[in-house]
Symmetry: D2
Subunit: 374 residues, 4 copies
């Protein structure tokens, strides 16, 4: 079982994480983690902070001479701006943020004490762990990609595109959208929002390819893989909706059209020709690509701030303005990949056990050939 | 902290659950639990099983002379049909179900061994625990309702309706829809699907009223209340999407229109005039109604079955036909209420502690007046 | 991972448990569970309750046609005396029991509400789960025995006896002591205590044979197998001390005499000629027998009761007298075996994964041959 | 609920920990943590490493301007010697250590990969968290002390000494023993062991004063406070036994002499005149001092090494010699205090909830006066 805790404030010394449960013997190429951290900072519409920080991972434990040794892994990313103690107090809670509820909950009268941890900078830690899990998953042929499907009302058309095509096209888009026409429109929307001091949200899709059948379980509610993936995705800042496969559309379909018929081929084993279910049935993976769509609300910090109430005077004021982005959907997609990687890695470890990569692989291969012979 | 495990197969002896962590001194009116169990069986479009079973709770432990005493509570519902050992073997996995992945995962060659536990009858246990949590929450003025928002493409119009109105109207609808016109159309769609041997899905909404500010936390990803609610909802059978407030719509809005401005009133304290966020900001409750929408795919067991593969011969065959429903969205809404009640109760216990109701209430009231004086 | 919850009060309807995580395909012979439940009731010095109850397991879920199917297993033992609602109120907390602290904690003014769950009858559930785990462990050659080492100051001499000898001799002793001379003396002590209205404690030893090397881990404190075994043992009623191998004696030895030198043999692999460590080094099993000693205080309910305070009047009174035993060390030893079985089964599942017995065994064998070739 | 993970290798960059769940508003005086870290390095009989390292805490997150803010707290202690990557390989597993089982488990052929994490240096992290918990507990009048009771066969006499006396005397002893005569003898034993290249173990006692009644619970086995304290203690390196109150002695006593009669006083409420139970009854605190005794085996690394087997050649060789101590019982006592502090803090948070110190204190006081009025 993987367990992890993250820590760190937006303008504290660093963003940190400790992960326990990684098998020994895994080569950890730090540049893969750094690449994911870099991707997290990209995307058209990001604010100034992204230009200040240039996140690089430091591995503080758990890796010796480039390999995991079974002990907990610590990943640290320094904050270049770590002025937390001296930053000005904040009294004007921003609508859409943790500011007000956090101040009430923790009984804090400087909202700075809330927003520093509630900030999406926390996801640096999760992207780092996700990248580590990705390195593990790659050993088993699991591949995770994402692309932006909508920004500010502009929706991409990607039906029928292969995984490789989606990867290739979105890699060239400044908003990681796999439809170049939509990509250009999205960019324009971001420019418009920027000019009017406004912000935008959107929708992204995470696709997980190469997952074995039977991860997760219907045996107990909290072992369902879709439930756990949904929790992970919904825990990302500003996410307001999550769905699998055709998701909310499936609610309007007839059963005869909604489900994916089962086929069998000598080399492929059991498979499907459609994937409306998004790779999950009965709380378990069915071997098809896991497809998750997530809705992100627009960034809560506006340059042209909304109305709020001063927590001292209770008078109407404008909300606080923190350094922020106009649109962060491409970044959220990267984070979505990361948290998905963590959940899948955990489900793999739960099913296959294994204290070393050798052991985990042996167990995995035993299962794969059992499935093949089934 | 509340912990619980459920057990039981669809045609086993009973559906069972053990819950640990309920405070002592709570009056448990069994009829409230039975009422929720009855609601779970209702709804236009249910199959024959619903007429066979007539679920009644038996409290096996944790309650003495009608009151909780701090020990774990066991809730049992007998299955009238408990022929599990002698039921015929199943070899034709149903698309959309746990059948195939379950057989591969657990290495079972009679799909009956899978479908018995993977069945939605498991939710009997969760509705029972949910009802218990509801009894606890009622002590703190928390009220949970639900209504069906869409079935088979028919969508209700309920904008502007008060909570009480939604409750009152949906109570009279055979599909618990708060729009009588849509309700009639939904019924017609169900009849049509029934005639063609097909099934339907839909969308339901759960509304949680009266929750204090500051449940959940941004401190660690897995403490976010929306993440945990999403997990609970997504763990319900056939749910493929979940969203908070305006959900996927928020992805298309500008920030200036998406967020709920903050107001202050002498008696009300901090409050909002809009509720796009659906009661959750920064992974915490903000005191407004929590509004959750969930998409349910159509029932996977069709009277006119889909194509599949016999797991013995690998030949193309028709999927197995189990006793089933045409549409179960109203039931899913009841289950949605139940799992939400569990999560909210757990968040309350996490924040307020309390081994007795007296203690929990004292702690709650202390906090409420702290918030008031903030 | 195995998870379980137990429930039930001493004079409630039943003792219950739900276990999640057992692999599918395991034959469950109910008579093995009943045998362990029977052993739990034996032992010279038991009270009248033991003659009233005759515990038999009912499997309510998780087993179909005698085999596990991967779903949670429910085990129920009925209480013949289930008069909990009408039993007289208790106001005189017994020293040594949960009575007083429980009443204060849960704010209960009838101590009956405390003692019903705090009763050692709860261990019925744990013996049942333990027996189930034993059935699993037997598949991997793991065998667990126990024997009573001391009662009321009489100490057995068993140094040098083989596991089989200890089993054989203690099986014939009315106090499951592997030294017949000591056994007779213990019996005499029990008779003496009975005559004077007093009670006795003692020491028992649990021995776990056939465990693979490398269960548990030093990686994180809560994964150490000795820590988890100690928790399980200390959670048994009336246990006040727990130790591994030579335990407290090791504190007085020099390092050169305390540790078990390492040897290697072609067929045996790495092994030891001594076992001072009791089979655990660095929080992991080392392949030698795990040897755990536990100290049990004398039963807290005395026929000639101690002084206490009436919780209503605060006046000095004699403690309540519940039906009870004079000495229950042999029973505690059986419970010690059971909770150890659970911890070892859990550690095996953690290391080897496996949703089916076939898969778990394949993974286990892969590891065993890896260790052999190391 | 407090959760924490520790990480770090003995010669890695640092020892690290992340703790989640500390209430906001607590003043964190770093010098208190540094003092505990310093105490952990003291004690007559420590090796060279102790002279190299001079542990000082760095708070990386969770504290702003000296106060906790509700976010996770990260504590880092740098290792001055962090040569892990270049240290020589080790092939000769030390008896008594994790070396062999760890290498087999994680499939590592350089034992260095095992011993770096299995090292007792890991306890730096736990002493740091423990010190933090201590700061929290001090707010509620809870005080934790420890003293060494035996080293290498020399046993202290402290019967009848008050808590303050034990503190005062042991503070002056180089082996933190509260009996000056025994202290001198212990020192002599250590000198003797040093001369012969040998090592020593011993026994220490942790005393927790000022704990409210009713922490922990009998409701579920894993909520018993003694079980959780035993787990925490047993998870300390080299601990082989743990007991509460008179522990193993209680096994030889009659019930009439073993239990602590209950008294009542106007100002004191319910109390005891004896404390054989060591402050725990029925898995809960009873308000008396919690008294825990722990047996530590002698250090496993001997200057005059034991026999073992080379893991490559399988030939008999002398065990590896790592820089180590002759006797570390005084340090273990400090660690015992720390892990006890964590468990008690956790039980307090479980019972009283509270996101801020203000809230936790209000809830605590409410309960204390409820208990008083009971």
């Amino acid at each position: 079982m993987l367990r992890y805790l993250t820590s760190g404030e937006s303008h504290g010394k660093c963003m940190l994480t400790i992960v326990d449960g990684m098998p020994a013997g895994l080569n950890v190429d730090k540049s893969i983690i750094d690449d994911e951290l870099a991707k997290r900072m990209l995307g058209y519409g990001r604010g100034k902070r992204m230009k200040i920080e240039s996140d690089r991972i430091e591995v503080l434990s758990g890796v010796r001479n480039g390999k995991t040794i079974g002990s907990p892994i610590s990943l640290l990313v320094k904050n270049i701006d770590h002025s937390i103690d001296s930053l000005p107090k904040v009294y004007e809670p921003r609508p859409g943020h943790a500011d007000l509820s956090g101040a009430l909950k923790y009984n804090l009268n400087d909202i700075r004490d809330v927003l520093e941890r509630a900030s999406a900078r926390e996801t640096v830690s999760r992207v780092a762990i996700g990248a580590l899990c990705r390195i593990l998953l790659a050993q088993f042929g699991v591949k995770i990609i994402s692309h932006v499907v909508a920004i500010g009302g502009v929706v991409s058309k990607t039906k029928g595109l292969s995984l490789d095509k989606i990867s290739a096209i979105s890699a060239k888009s400044p908003v990681t959208c796999a439809d170049m026409k939509a990509s250009a429109d999205m960019r324009r929307e971001i420019d418009k929002a920027a000019r009017s001091g406004d912000t935008l949200g959107g929708v992204f899709e995470v696709i997980i390819h190469g997952v074995p059948q039977g991860l997760g379980s219907y045996s107990q509610w909290d072992r369902r893989i879709d439930a756990n993936l949904a929790r992970a995705i919904m825990s990302i800042h500003a996410i307001k909706g999550v769905s699998f496969g055709i998701g909310f559309e499936s609610a309007a379909l007839k059963g005869s059209l909604a489900h994916d018929e089962i086929f069998y081929g000598k080399s492929k084993g059991f498979y499907r020709k459609t994937n409306n279910a998004g790779g999950v049935e009965g709380g378990m993976t069915n071997g098809e690509d896991i497809v998750i769509r997530s809705a992100m609300k627009p960034i809560s910090t506006l340059r042209k701030p909304l109305s709020t109430v001063d927590i001292r005077t209770k008078k109407r004021v404008k909300a606080a303005v923190e350094r922020s982005d106009i649109c962060a959907v491409p970044a959220a997609a990267v984070i979505g990949e990361a948290v998905s990687a963590i959940e899948i890695a955990n489900a793999m470890l739960d099913k296959f056990g294994g204290d070393s990569l050798t052991e985990m692989r042996r167990n995995y291969e035993g299962y794969m050939s059992q499935v093949k012979r089934f």
